[in-house]
């Protein structure tokens, strides 16, 4: 047992050190690189906490996509860093902020130390009802059945944030292609990677999404991996981002929530409540929803990364 505790203490020290470094370093770029490492280390923490589903999602989103997003922004905003230094708050404000942060941390630490014994848990309840969903992974069961409304609304939230991103385009570019045009050497190393990795990556993404029914995995990490592969091809200039006015693109974006809603409303007739599944078809319906979700998550996250339209569709 002591081996594992030593390992966990080292891991916790690593996470803490990287977090302090992210905050204290002057250069934004170095801070973002440290943040990527923070995500990687947290993935290991999730494995130690027996939350494999979360570890997969953290590996894909927490360190992968968020890191790319912030690195790109740091590169584009490099010129503004010097001005910001002059705006640093005075010692009084810093001390007050430190006191507030310490107070919050202490309160949370006390809450952790005085968590009720025995711990409240919904694990037995979740497991008892799991056979009715046809799933064997309890987390997927929670996401797709007991808290299906949550997951549905989350899809909508992500879609709304994409609409928010698009609406920041200049008026004359509305409907155009997202992001800057990436010029790349067609024979270069990056283009080679962008041709070889996505076929493998897309298969891996579908595999992880498919696993979700029985083992850790699911639509979130699977869809994120596919989005990342699309992003790689876009960044390498192997493919171009589609103009956001395309009808097929809009259809893919609403496919996930639409299928989810359709199944949800059909629940009124087949099982007597919104988002209730008839037991005999529960697994089939959940798989249908998940297929739609993987498509929509991949498209939405990929387009969120690509940003608002910056080039007119007209040549």
């Amino acid at each position: 047992m002591s081996w594992t505790l030593a390992l966990e203490a080292g891991l916790a020290a690593l996470v803490l050190g990287v977090a302090v470094w992210t905050l204290s370093v002057r250069q934004t770029f170095a801070a973002v690189v440290a943040f990527v490492v923070y995500g990687l280390a947290l993935t290991l923490v999730w494995v130690r906490l027996s939350a494999l589903d979360v570890a997969l999602t953290e590996a894909a989103i927490g360190s992968g996509l968020t890191g790319v997003l912030l690195l790109g922004a740091a590169a584009r905003l490099r010129a503004t860093e010097a001005d910001a230094v002059a705006e640093r708050p005075g010692a009084g404000v810093r001390a007050a902020a430190a006191a507030l942060a310490a107070l919050v941390a202490l309160a949370l630490a006390a809450a952790v130390l005085y968590l009720p014994e025995p711990a409240h848990t919904l694990a037995p309840a979740a497991m008892a009802e799991l056979p009715a969903t046809g799933m064997r992974n309890a987390v997927t069961g929670v996401l797709m059945a007991y808290r299906a409304a949550d997951t549905l609304l989350e899809k909508v939230v992500v879609l709304i944030s994409l609409i928010g991103v698009w609406s920041l385009a200049q008026d004359k570019l509305w409907g155009g292609r997202p992001g800057l045009l990436h010029h790349a050497d067609p024979d270069g190393a990056l283009a080679f990677l962008a041709r070889r990795l996505p076929p493998v990556g897309i298969v891996a993404g579908i595999y992880i999404a498919w696993l979700g029914a029985d083992q850790p995995g699911g639509a979130f990490p699977g869809g994120t991996i596919i989005a990342a592969m699309w992003l790689l091809a876009m960044m390498a200039g192997v493919t171009d981002a589609p103009p956001i006015s395309r009808r097929w693109l809009r259809l893919v974006l609403v496919a996930g929530p639409a299928v989810f809603l359709a199944v949800g409303f059909s629940g009124f007739f087949t099982a007597g409540a919104f988002l209730a599944y008839p037991v005999a078809y529960a697994k089939a319906l959940i798989v249908v929803i998940e297929v739609g979700m993987v498509l929509t998550i991949a498209a939405t996250l990929g387009l969120l990364m690509a940003g608002p339209p910056e080039r007119s569709d007209k040549p």
Binding site: A189, L190, F192, L193, R196, L197, V200
Partner: protein, 97 residues
């Protein structure tokens, strides 16, 4: 038989761990970006490769073992290309200074 396999696993994983040690030492001690990159690729290719090799007998089947090898091959492909890109970026940075 299982003793032989255990010894094989331990030997391969120790060798892999050594290459991670070597990679870190090189990354910290070597004088410029390109030599540090050279040290890094040893950890990527040999370090992970030997760890995977050592874990193969313990994978519990042919398919899990193939998955381990696939992970290593993916890292090989990605790290080979990423090293190229980092090397080019390092050269660019040194020109700018």
């Amino acid at each position: 038989m299982s003793l032989v396999l255990d010894v094989f696993s331990i030997a391969a994983i120790c060798a892999g761990a050594f290459f991670f040690l070597a990679g870190t030492a090189g990354l910290l001690r070597f004088p410029d970006a390109l030599t540090r990159l050279h040290a890094l690729t040893k950890a990527d290719n040999l370090g992970l490769g030997l760890v995977v090799l050592g874990l193969l007998p313990r994978a519990g089947g042919v398919l899990p073992a193939l998955k381990l090898i696939a992970i290593w091959l993916l890292v090989l492909l990605a790290s080979a290309i990423v090293s190229q890109l980092i090397g080019r970026a390092a050269r660019r940075e040194s020109r700018l200074q």
